[in-house]
Amino acid sequence: MTTQTIPPMLRSAKGKRPSFYETKGLDQMMSMIMVLAGEVSVLADQIDLMQRAAADKGLDLAGAMQAVTLDQPALEEREARRQAMLDRLFYLMRKEAAEASAEETSEGYSRTIEEIAIG
């Protein structure tokens, strides 16, 4: 543990940042996508590093990974994980579909607020 007496570096550059999109929030959205793409790339590099570090110790992890045959439970486990990830990724679409089925509307929501205020 080191003791730090110097302030951390600044993280924001002076100068008004331009907007690139007319749609509100899209600039932030694109920056998040790019950061996430970066993190995916970092993870891929980490797996690559694991394989190389193992190889340095005489363990052919990459070869062993290639040689693995996925049995039925493994196939199911993987597919379930992928579907769960997609489910999380598209949670807003799921919500939209659920609202459509339940016939939920913005007007209905406002009406509920008004009703509860007096009811």
């Binding site: 550059a13 600039d27 790019m34 793409a37 790339s41």
Partner: protein, 404 residues
């Protein structure tokens, strides 16, 4: 081509852990992709739909770079290009700051140790005033700016620049970021036969990337690098020490350099002029003339003027003005640099533009890490493409010689 260029390590360079290095490499890859994969589409987008829409809306064809800008800004393809380009710039600095903050005072200690082995001087101006064209915006969106802020002006901003610029240039300027200086040195050796400068001044040197090759290629010369950024010259002095070179650094303004008349045989600058201003640039030319001994040379390696380019190319280049905190980038290209040199006192027949070929092939031949011959060749042998880093083939230089 697969760009695997790697920066050479030295004792004052920020050290990245595995994840930080991956983030930095990702940004470098993203920049490469934007320039190779997305940029080429802007031309067709402009020709096939943006120009047409402009014509429909205004009843005339786009006439200059300003019209082209109006035509392109509402187009979704351009928006993605400009947005991702900007984001890559922001992520670049952030990825390096992670390393610098993690190491904290350790980095400063390493740099100070390296500085001790540089026998050259370091002069920091008491009460030095940073010109507005550097302090108004953080140039290249580098948080903190080149000169820092009161209480935030230690040499870490130089370290940030050192690593950040390598990523920004995607390694095109070599493992030591020194291609510009090296190329101009080699140009001098090849084209100004027998010219042996005894005192050399590099204006706007930042951390001395381009300054050090002058010491390497003219080892007997006294070499000075000056810059308005205190953190930059402090770090530059340390970096020179780390690289085993005795080079002098000073915090000075290129408009008014604290050396006597006729003190230098060679005054150079590399990508400095476009970071100054409409008032400063003519003054810098006059200052070069004052500082030079009779027969001495002034060489500025910077951007070619707009009048040499078509309007679409101008538009692409001008994006830097709007999106990368480069306020003088566009206006500078409209100035008549030859006239400025003439007005500063240089004889008309001594002033010319020329090209100093890039030295990037030499890095591959020297087997620098990641510098494959294929990739270096692809960088060296390119057509000029606006929006790519560095012109293909070579750097544009403006040369003038003071009356002997």
């Amino acid at each position: 081509m697969l760009n695997t260029f790697q920066q050479a390590n030295h004792a004052a360079l920020p050290e990245a852990d595995a994840a930080e290095l991956s983030r930095q490499e990702f940004v470098k890859s993203l920049k490469h992709y934007v320039q190779q994969g997305i940029l080429p589409g802007l031309g067709p987008i402009y020709r096939t739909r943006a120009a047409e829409r402009f014509q429909k809306e205004t009843g005339r064809a786009p006439a200059d770079r300003h019209d082209i800008r109006k035509a392109m800004v509402p187009d979704a393809y351009f928006q993605h290009y400009a947005s991702v380009n900007r984001i890559s710039q922001e992520l670049l600095w952030d990825s390096v700051i992670d390393s610098i903050d993690r190491e904290g005072e350790g980095l400063i200690a390493r740099a100070e140790q390296a500085a001790a082995s540089n026998k050259g001087e370091l002069r920091i101006g008491e009460g030095f005033e940073v010109p507005r064209y550097v302090s108004a915006l953080d140039i290249h969106c580098m948080p903190g700016g080149y000169a820092g802020r009161p209480g935030q002006d230690d040499l870490r901003l130089g370290a940030l620049y050192d690593r950040g610029v390598f990523l920004y240039a995607m390694g095109y300027t070599g493992p030591d970021n020194d291609d510009m200086g090296r190329s101009v040195c080699l140009y001098i050796k090849a084209k100004l036969e027998g010219f042996q400068p005894r005192r050399i001044l590099d204006l706007g040197c930042t951390v001395g990337h381009s300054t050090l090759p002058y010491k390497e290629l003219f080892p007997d010369a006294e070499v000075w690098g000056v810059d308005v950024g205190g953190p930059q010259v402090r770090y530059g002095h340390a970096r020179a020490g780390a690289m085993g070179l005795d080079v002098n650094f000073a915090q000075m303004n290129a408009e008014k350099v604290d050396f006597p008349d006729g003190h230098f045989d060679l005054v150079v600058s590399h990508i400095l002029l476009h970071e100054t201003s409409g008032k400063a640039m003519p003054q810098i030319f006059r200052e070069c003339h004052r500082l030079l001994a009779p027969g001495g040379y002034m060489i500025h390696a910077d951007l070619p003027p707009f009048d040499l380019m078509d309007p679409f190319t101008q538009f692409i280049l001008d994006n830097e003005t709007y999106y990368n905190n480069e306020p003088f980038w566009g206006a500078m290209r409209e100035l008549d640099q030859v006239k400025l040199a003439k007005d500063a006192g240089f004889p008309a027949d001594s002033i010319r533009f020329d090209t100093a070929p890039m030295a990037v092939m030499m890095f591959a031949q020297a087997e620098a890490a990641g510098y494959s011959l294929d990739a270096a060749d692809a960088v060296a042998v390119r057509e000029f493409t606006a929006g790519e880093f560095a012109p293909g083939g070579g750097w544009e230089v403006l040369i003038a010689q003071k009356q002997a």
